[in-house]
């Protein structure tokens, strides 16, 4: 109870601080409807990331679904970039984008994590 009393104001303050609505899960269809605004990046995304990151059965976090991405985002962009470059668990190295540069990967991670804006 005492812990709750300490935590509660902190949570309220955190909510006030960000001003963001809590993230909500996306459906496959909502995820599949998202594309990077930049045409070249969209081409890279369509040919690689999209095949898994819009399909729940692939177990990859759905593009734009911040309920899945936010916990990963806390690892930091550098850690996420390393996971893409070297592969991790179900994710093959390079994320199947064989023409992506490191900057392309960074931009694609930001887009999929719902951090574009």
């Amino acid at each position: 109870m005492r812990q709750l009393a300490i935590l509660l104001p902190a949570l309220v303050l955190a909510g006030c601080g960000t001003g963001e609505a809590p993230p909500r899960p996306l459906t496959q269809e909502q995820s599949a409807a998202l594309r990077p605004a930049d045409a070249r990046l969209a081409g890279l995304y369509d040919n690689s990331c999209r095949a898994c990151h819009t399909v729940k059965d692939s177990l990859a976090p759905l593009t734009g679904d911040r309920t899945l991405w936010d916990p990963r985002w806390t690892q930091g962009e550098a850690a996420l970039l390393s996971a893409v470059l070297q592969g991790k668990k179900a994710m093959p190295a390079g994320g199947q984008c064989f023409t992506c540069t490191a900057d392309d990967y960074r931009a694609l991670i930001r887009f999929m994590a719902g951090r574009d804006s």
Partner: protein, 466 residues
């Protein structure tokens, strides 16, 4: 304290120690494999295949936007020039320290002929994108492989296949193709034009040049009923020839150390659509892993428990267009060896494969896959002029796979098998020449289009004897 009590306490302590030891061993074995560095000393980015068995740091990465750009690029690109599809091959077809060439920007339909159900497709199109694109023009590929992430060019180059008594591998549906040779020349080939190149390069390992587009003989869009059901493995093996003959597409997955197999069939239907549910294969696979983890050293107990757990599992049924059902998501990475045997040798060889795994490779938990493929006439097709029964064994990406070479490959070779070009095997040019009646002719064509061997990496040099 009585002696009996001391013995009991000591026994419990030993059991606890043993249990902790086994858990520690499993935790050690389940660690992520060592990963190659993300960049090399010169700052070149890592490339690795899907399974993580092959890697490279190419000096250059090219992604031409169209055939003209591809033709301009090939004569001046740094060798070895290696085309990459989706990186789903387990063998070292792709690694290069020269130029890695992706066809990702050359994808999509070029044209479709509704009356004849043919379509011309850019070679970099992923099979997962080709399904809906063809469906939009009322067509479908006659058959599809288990995974659909591959590019069309990569799937054709490696003899990628599905299953079905009357169905060839994907390259069996190719009626014409445009290939850009290493000198930049564009060759349009079919049975009627440049026929030798057509026969040699249809399953071409990316060694004859780079495909830019392919014309496929498709079929009108059909609806199929997919049924997945568990059967006793002995019963399935006994009835396999009849099952294979009675279904449009039939395959099965032997679940080792369980006595059970999953039979998967697809048949044409006009029943209403009943879409596939969420994937259950990954969960089943991880359950088999947990059984392995706990009972690896007591296979009898493992089988007994598994057969009880798998009893009375209801069949999974889905009805939809074929392109939505024939391929599957495979989120659990693995390593694979597959050979294509004369069809009459399949069951006998499979029995021996199961026996060897269950007696001498108790850490295996991945299924053993059996499929059938109709013959074709591509010179380097593993199905060249013979109906084939394939056998594939798998290992989790974190597990050792040397048992495949030690225990399984000798059985598959003895049965006259030809290896899948994209899956693990140990064969070299001399072995392959004996398995392929048109080997010499195919190599002569390859030398004529690439006399300097600019498309060959060290692996292909060994494979092709170049």
């Amino acid at each position: 304290m009585s002696t009996r009590r001391k013995v009991m306490l000591g026994g419990a302590g030993l059991l606890a120690l043993g249990g902790a030891g086994l858990a520690g061993r499993r935790a050690w074995l389940d660690r992520e494999p060592d990963l190659p560095a993300a960049t090399d000393a010169r700052g070149r980015l890592l490339w690795s295949n899907w399974a993580g068995t092959e890697s490279a740091y190419p000096a250059a990465r090219a992604a031409p936007a169209d055939e003209a750009e591809l033709a301009a690029l090939l004569p001046r690109a740094a060798a070895p020039i290696r085309p990459v599809g989706a990186g789903h091959s387990f063998t070292a077809l792709v690694p290069t320290d020269g130029t890695m060439l992706a066809l990702d920007r050359m994808s999509g339909l070029v044209s479709a002929d509704r009356a004849n159900a043919t379509a011309t497709v850019r070679a970099g199109t992923r099979l997962s994108a080709l399904g809906p694109a063809l469906a939009a023009v009322g067509q479908e590929m006659p058959n599809l492989p288990d995974i659909n992430k591959q590019t069309l060019a990569g799937a054709l180059a490696t003899g990628t296949h599905g299953t079905g008594k009357d169905y060839t591998a994907l390259h069996g549906a190719v009626t014409a193709m445009r290939l850009v040779a290493p000198d930049g020349g564009v060759r349009e080939c079919s049975r009627d034009a440049d026929a030798e190149l057509f026969h040699a390069a249809r399953v071409g390992l990316g060694a004859f040049g780079v495909l830019s587009q392919v014309t496929l003989q498709n079929q009108p869009l059909t609806r199929v009923r997919k049924v997945v059901r568990l059967i006793d493995t002995e019963e399935l093996l006994a009835s396999w020839p009849a099952l294979a003959a009675n279904h449009r597409n039939a395959e099965f997955l032997v679940l080792p150390f369980t006595g059970k197999s999953a039979l998967i069939t697809h048949d044409v239907t006009f029943d209403p659509v009943s879409p596939r549910g969420p994937d259950q294969d990954a969960d089943t696979l991880m359950s088999l892993k947990r059984l392995r983890d706990l009972f690896e050293f007591t296979p009898g107990l493992r089988k007994s428990l598994a057969s009880r757990l798998l009893a009375d599992v209801p069949p999974e049924i889905a009805i939809d267009e074929g392109w939505k059902l024939l391929s599957n998501e495979r989120p659990v990475r693995f390593k694979e060896m597959e050979y294509h045997l004369p069809i009459e040798r399949q069951v006998e060889a499979l029995r021996e494969v199961i026996r060897r795994i269950e007696s001498r490779a108790t850490d295996v938990f991945f299924p053993i896959e059996a499929r059938i493929i109709a013959p074709d006439d591509a010179w380097l097709s593993p199905f060249y002029q013979r109906a084939s029964g394939s056998i594939a064994v798998h290992a989790w990406y974190k597990d050792e796979h040397d048992w495949m070479f030690r225990l399984i490959e000798p059985v598959l070779r003895e049965a006259g098998g030809r290896p899948h070009w994209g899956k693990l095997h140990s064969l070299g040019a001399a072995d392959l020449a004996a398995l392929y009646p048109m080997w010499r002719e195919a190599q002569a064509v390859r030398r004529s289009v690439d006399p300097q061997g600019r498309m060959l990496n060290p692996y292909l040099q060994r494979l092709l004897g170049a």
